[in-house]
């Protein structure tokens, strides 16, 4: 007889950690050392030795290779070395799903999901290619001045806003919510640097419809989450925080080259969202707190629509600062400050914040945050999402 094919309740978070979060170029440490600092920090959070780790899962072609990490940490029995393919920050929740799949199937016992990124050491995401020629897919975009992530995604958002009459104020509310939450979070790079409507409105355009404050930061740092079998939940000091579901992927020909995905004005979650909620056994109205990856606010808006929190036509009413802020908003969003105002740790900071909400340890705590959801990497492919739950949700 086969077991039920689900990740629901199979793994518990043992520990989380992040390094100090730096502005791009300000980390005193190399990227690989940052990875080690986050991983060993997560081990301290869990109360385990780094030598208990037997699996690594990451995404976006993280440069800190699993075998090198295992050697540096003196791990005796590496059992799982996993990379979620492509998609940049769209892989964050997918990597957590991969880790839990390994645990649930007995391939590994203790898997660390991590991401380390030193844009100062290795170059910025937000700049165009510095070479004389270009070939392949990008030859059809770069010579027209389309080369940065903001430029790659703006046309999706413009089309969505056009089709559904979404106003700029909806994007602004997403940005303001992140900045407001960051003011209570000493880890946040934008801690002590509040943002108001006037500052947003007067900020320069990067590419319409994105103002400066619609765009994520560029940072240096690392983050790590350790997962183990749910049967071991009692070994840790933290309250139980279990993975209820994870989903990754994208829709029909989402990766068609040169902006040719048939369904274009999308964050790429339409096919994932039903699978995510079905595995978790929860409905969208039961989600207590939400982290949604801000590469750019427009992607956050579309991803929240595509998970059913509101319809496209309701965006102008739904996306208000009041609705999006803890502790009493309808859907408290990006409660650590997120990629915009805490740190662009390629989104893994959002997963850590989702865990802290279940633990009751957020700097913007939502009371009774039993169901805590993360959306990773809108508008890329593959994207991913996951839902964590407290012990009461099992």
């Amino acid at each position: 007889m086969s077991a039920e094919r689900t990740l629901r309740g199979r793994a518990v978070v043992a520990g989380v950690a992040e390094t100090t979060y730096y502005k791009r170029g300000e980390s005193p440490d190399d990227e690989f050392k940052l990875a080690l600092e986050a991983i060993t920090g997560a081990c301290r959070s869990a109360g385990i030795s780094p030598q208990e780790i037997d699996g690594f899962a990451s995404y976006s072609n993280d440069r800190s290779d699993a075998s090198r990490l295992a050697a540096a940490l003196g791990i005796h029995d590496l059992r799982f070395a996993n990379m979620q393919w492509g998609g940049g920050g769209g892989g964050g929740s997918g990597a957590i799903g991969n880790a839990v799949a390994a645990i649930a199937t007995g391939m590994a016992e203790c898997v660390v999901v991590f991401r380390a990124l030193a844009q100062g050491q290795f170059g910025r995401f937000g700049q165009g290619p510095r070479r004389n020629t270009i070939s392949g897919e990008f030859a059809h975009t770069v010579p027209y001045g389309l080369m940065s992530p903001a430029q790659m995604f703006a046309m999706k958002v413009t089309r969505f806003m056009h089709d559904h009459q979404v106003q700029q104020a909806a994007l602004r509310a997403i940005s303001l919510a992140s900045y407001q939450h960051a003011q209570n979070n000493p880890r946040a790079v934008m801690y002590g640097r509040p943002l108001d409507e006037q500052q947003y409105d007067e900020s320069r355009w990067i590419v319409e419809p994105f103002h400066l404050y619609d765009c994520c930061q560029e940072n240096d740092g690392a983050a790590a989450i350790i997962l183990v079998s749910a049967e071991r939940a009692q070994e840790f000091d933290h309250p139980g925080c279990y993975l209820l579901s994870a989903a990754a992927g994208s829709h029909h020909r989402a990766g068609a080259p040169v902006h040719n995905a048939p369904d274009y004005a999308t964050s790429a979650f339409k096919t994932l969202a039903p699978r995510l909620f079905e595995m978790a056994g929860v409905g969208v109205s039961e989600v207590n707190v939400l982290q949604s990856y801000e590469n750019f606010t427009g992607g956050v808006l579309m991803s929240i629509v595509e998970h059913g929190f509101c319809t496209p036509e309701e965006c102008n009413d739904f996306f208000t600062l009041e609705n999006l802020t803890a502790p009493r908003g309808r859907v408290p969003l990006n409660t650590s400050g997120g990629n915009l105002a805490e740190c662009y740790m390629h989104g893994l900071g959002l997963n850590i914040e989702a865990v802290r909400q279940v633990w009751g340890e957020s700097s913007n705590q939502v009371s009774g945050a039993d169901i805590s959801m993360v959306i990773s990497g809108p508008m890329v492919t593959p994207v991913s999402a996951c839902i964590f739950g407290s012990e009461a949700t099992l």
């Binding site: 165009g128 004389n132 030859a139 059809h140 010579p143 080369m147 089309r159 990067i206 040169v258 902006h259």
Partner: protein
Amino acid sequence: MSAYLQDGLPSPVANNLDAPFWKGLQDNRLLIQRCANCSNWQWGPEWICHHCHSFELDFEETKASGVIYSYERVWHPVHPALASQGPYLIVLVALPAAGAVRLVGNLLGDPRQDVEIGGRVEGVFEHHLDAESNYSLLQWQNIPLE
């Protein structure tokens, strides 16, 4: 005509998959990939037809005439070549005569103009024939309402 954007961006170089397209632009022709088996248009080019999985793919000439599917006005330069460019317009143009596949280009004219999604545009071949480069791009201009 002079180029829409300032000089210094990477020059496109054809590869085994898209060479007929780039050659076509130099000859003032727009060639888009089309399946010899099922007649499906596809863009960007692939080695296989995503519809019928045939490897028999041709490039067929189509009219450089389209509809603006989306657009963006870029203000912040992310490449040194564009440091003094000022704002510029990128359009995503669907080709109704070629299965509504889309091309990326620039919209000629005032970079601060209002852009109409759904507006009709026609192609303008932009030839780069200086000492360092030898390639052509396809730009777009509004078709005035009659």
